[in-house]
Symmetry: C2
Subunit: 175 residues, 2 copies
């Protein structure tokens, strides 16, 4: 563990923790895909993370205080990973990243509908989602609104629609 920082700039310190190709992918899957176990994160990921990288990132993110690891009561060898408040506070960052990527990069429609909703929902929606994540991961009181359900429903609708009306060209599956 190296405690030396390149500088005390908030942007730099954030990059020192999240500035690689996988850390935010792991958090994204835990946050939006509700993946809580090693295998779920390993196999049900769009991008196909390698097991040693996943292992390393879970360890590193735990050290940095973004996630916690607990034994799953139902399965003795299962580990249950949870987001901490620190990670839950990344919701607005994800919203901005999604908004930017959606506007400037060749995103697929199915995978960007969540970003679109989150952008249009604004800070109120972000806060509602953070409250929901605090319920799921930190055991706090269940909020009335379920943003995750809204996002999932919209995603499924897009999937159903694009599957029913196959586009001639622009919609290549390309996972």
């Amino acid at each position: 563990m190296k405690d030396e920082h390149r500088s005390g700039c908030p942007i730099n310190l954030t990059l020192e923790i999240l500035g690689d190709r996988w850390s935010l992918i792991v958090i994204r899957d835990m946050m939006f895909g509700n993946r809580r176990h090693f295998r779920e994160l390993l196999t049900r990921s769009e991008e196909g993370i390698a097991s040693n990288i996943l292992s390393d990132r879970l360890k590193r993110l735990t050290e940095k205080g973004l996630i916690t690891r607990a034994d799953d009561p139902s399965h003795k060898q299962k580990a249950l990973y949870s987001l901490t408040e620190m990670a839950i506070c990344l919701v607005p960052l994800f919203a901005q990243m999604g908004a930017w990527g959606r506007r400037h990069l060749p995103v697929s429609e199915e995978l960007s509908i969540r970003a679109e909703l989150l952008e249009n929902g604004g800070p109120a929606m972000w806060e509602a989602m953070m409250a929901e994540l605090r319920f799921i991961h930190l055991g706090m009181e269940r909020p009335a609104r379920s943003v995750l359900a809204e996002l999932q429903r919209a995603y499924e609708q897009v999937v159903a629609r694009t599957a029913a009306a196959p586009q001639p060209e622009a919609a290549s599956p390309q996972a």
Copy 2:
């Protein structure tokens, strides 16, 4: 150049471009520090980027459409780098990154005052800053408000204050 993407997810595509330890540092220095030349970026950086890394990042960011390179009319061997609209649109992302880092990581006071102002200023301030960057980097009309000047002034005030009143240890610098 590889055109294969791991997935069409906006978060993933954003990470494929900006998900490393240096790309956002370079853009940050161009954006907030108004560094436009190779040497400025190389030597006047808090974090100390290596010249080959800087060279590579400038090349990559140019390919990806985030910056442009032009000859500086005043010096024949100088290259002038400018942000594109795509990079200017990262302002809200920087604001969120700064806000998150400032809240959860051991930032220094001088280097986080800008993040604090940007967070408190909200979307209106971000838009004003983007307009200013469009003036500086894209030659658009000069806006009335100069957010960069506001940030710089606040930074200098903090530097002057902390230099004038040397802290003993953990004593609050008289808020």
